[in-house]
């Protein structure tokens, strides 16, 4: 199973990718929204974890663009935000994200969300 994790913060990238690898996932990394979109096209991951606060093209835009591109629109995207508000959740879903979770990540909850998409 291939997961693409789009995250600009090095520490978080390292941490979450290690945790996912330990669970047996193959983890691909992208540092900004544009690189994330490019890798979605070239690598065709099974799922994308998209941090919403990204440089260059932010997570909101990247998600909107991905969902508008028929080539990759079927790849599930879980939006990760630091925004716990209901309005943020709605905003993420409005962009076309398939699910939503908040930072700091509850790893068990995130895993169960990932599994529900990959099952």
């Amino acid at each position: 199973m291939k997961i693409l994790y789009v995250e600009d913060n090095e520490m978080n990238r390292d941490m979450l990718s290690r945790r996912l690898s330990r669970r047996g996932y193959e983890v691909l990394l992208a540092f900004d929204g544009q690189a994330g979109l490019d890798m979605m096209k070239s690598e065709k991951p099974d799922l994308v974890l998209m941090d919403m606060g990204l440089p260059v093209v932010d997570g909101w835009d990247a998600t909107t663009q991905a969902k508008a591109d028929p080539e990759i629109s079927s790849i599930p995207i879980i939006a990760l935000t630091a925004h716990a508000l209901e309005s943020d959740k709605q905003k993420a879903l409005d962009c076309g994200a398939d699910d939503f979770d908040t930072k700091p990540v509850d790893f068990k909850r995130l895993l169960s969300k990932i599994d529900s998409f990959l099952a």
């Binding site: 913060n9 520490m11 978080n12 390292d14 941490m15 979450l16 290690r18 945790r19 330990r22 919403m52 606060g53 935000t81 630091a82 925004h83 716990a84 930072k103 700091p104 990540v105 790893f107």
Partner: protein
């Protein structure tokens, strides 16, 4: 009147406390975990460093946002919603890393380390780090809401977190590792005063790791009661308390105890020179900035306790020296110098308003050489002691008696000539009846005496000479008698 900006400052400092306290506690736990790992000979993991640097980032991000807000003179419309989102994002990102790495470490240790008490402690501490990071989440929301201009309700520091911390500590029990401190230092009684339970417990843990015992008080009133119950050897006092502020509390301690008898180390996140200077000025012995560094904490605490111990020993020594300098070694009553000084002072005082007439008596035990020859020096000493005790009982404050050498004693009594005769008669009688038991024998002695009155001379040595001459007369005319200025009182034959 509390100004609006004053109220804002109070809320801001409360938010800052809620935010910085758990972050600092995370540092403390990391330090404790590292020490425990080194005890197991496990090299410290990269993840610990990652947590540390995330925690530093968290505090930096917060400081940056905090300063930005307080410097911009705050109109809520100055920031766009995107900027608030970014702020929240920046603050939450390091939290995410702390929690994640913490969980990685727990997984690693559960897999790699053999089950042991220390492993359990390490894992519990890591869980606590994660809990602390989660509790910071709430502070971030409060902070962002506040600078957005929304009304913020301050609760008493998130109580659920405190409870979980409490349960955690109970499960830990005592930690057995300690550095070598002397038993005297370890017997010290330290009082920790801080309204934040986590802070108290971290301090307690750190001190107990070195074998030091402590009590805690979560507010000013409790602290005052604890000190009243038993004066501790040292107080670690937080500047910010819910009821009485730390500086006020310090003042109250100082009204009853000196810096020497009750050393206080102030603990505070205010690290500016003025605050520190103020604490020292108010009588604090030292100052510990938050976040507390474990090594500095221990160094300051131990040095303060050592200083207090040394001071106490010094006091005892001075006391002992004073006793030695003023007491006659054999009999334990005043020595020659003290009694002569007293008479000197009394005659000087005669020239002043608070003049009180007095008389002096020089005593000399009759036939003391024979006593010594018969019973030996040990027997002689017993007689001197018993005689001194009798005189000391009969001649009580403000009157005084001292041994001036050999079998000679000198007394000063603030009584007039009329009462003098009755007193001396009674005393002669008591001396004669005083039986001294020595090696199954009963010894009785008599004494001769010379008396002089303060109205006879303004000069102390004149007065002593007069009394001495009369003592000589008493000896010559048959002993067991006291010669006054114009009379003589003799004992029964």
């Amino acid at each position: 009147m509390v100004s609006k900006s004053g109220a804002r400052d109070i809320i801001l400092s409360q938010i800052k406390q809620d935010f910085v306290t758990p972050a600092n506690a995370i540092f403390d736990y990391l330090d404790i975990v590292e020490k425990a790992l080194s005890k197991l000979d496990v090299p410290s993991d990269d993840e610990l460093d990652q947590i540390k640097s995330s925690c530093t980032k968290l505090i930096n991000q917060y400081d940056e946002a905090f300063n930005l807000y307080t410097n911009q003179n705050s109109s809520k419309s100055q920031k766009s919603p995107e900027e608030y989102s970014e702020l929240r994002h920046n603050l939450r990102t390091p939290l995410n890393a702390i929690i994640g790495y913490g969980e990685i470490l727990i997984e690693d240790f559960e897999e790699d380390l053999p089950e042991s008490r220390t492993r359990r402690i390490i894992i519990n501490d890591l869980k606590h780090i994660i809990d602390l990071a989660r509790s910071t989440e709430k502070a971030i929301e409060t902070f962002v809401d506040f600078i957005r201009g929304e009304d913020v309700e301050m609760e008493d520091a998130s109580s659920s977190n405190i409870e979980s911390a409490e349960a955690l500590f109970k499960s830990l029990g005592d930690i057995e590792y300690s550095i070598s401190l002397s038993d005297e230092i370890k017997a010290s009684d330290i009082l920790i005063v801080d309204d934040n339970k986590t802070n108290c417990e971290v301090l307690e843990r750190r001190l107990s790791m070195s074998g030091l015992k402590s009590r805690t008080a979560y507010d000013g009133e409790t602290a005052l009661a604890e000190v009243k119950k038993k004066t501790p050897d040292l107080i670690l006092l937080d500047v910010i308390l819910p009821d009485i502020n730390g500086l006020e509390l310090l003042k109250r301690f100082r009204s009853k105890h000196t810096n020497e008898s009750l050393p206080v180390i102030m603990v505070s996140a205010f690290d500016d020179v003025d605050s520190i200077a103020k604490c020292i000025q108010l009588g604090a012995q030292d100052y510990l900035p938050k976040p507390i560094n474990g090594t500095v904490l221990l160094a300051k605490v131990v040095s303060s306790l050592e200083r207090k111990l040394l001071r106490e020993r010094e006091k005892e020594l001075v006391n002992e020296l004073h006793i030695q300098a003023t007491t006659d070694q054999l009999t334990g009553i005043a020595n020659r110098r003290v009694i002569f000084d007293t008479i000197q002072n009394a005659s000087v005082r005669e020239k002043r308003k608070d003049y009180k007439p007095f008389m002096i008596i020089i005593f000399d035990i009759d036939f003391f050489k024979n006593v010594n020859d018969t019973y030996g020096h040990a027997g002689g000493d017993e007689i001197l002691k018993s005689f001194a005790t009798l005189l000391n009982t009969e001649i009580s404050e403000p009157n005084q008696v001292g041994r001036i050498g050999g079998e000679e004693f000198l007394a000063i009594l603030y009584i007039d000539e009329d009462t003098a005769e009755t007193f001396i008669k009674d005393l002669i009688n008591k001396i004669q009846k005083n039986s001294i038991e020595y090696e199954n024998q009963t010894i009785n002695i008599t004494s001769s005496g010379g008396v002089a009155f303060s109205n006879e001379s303004e000069n102390a040595s004149d007065l002593v000479n007069k009394a001495d001459k009369r003592l000589y007369m008493a000896k010559k005319s048959g002993r067991n008698r006291f010669v006054l200025n114009n009379s003589e009182i003799s004992g029964e034959k």
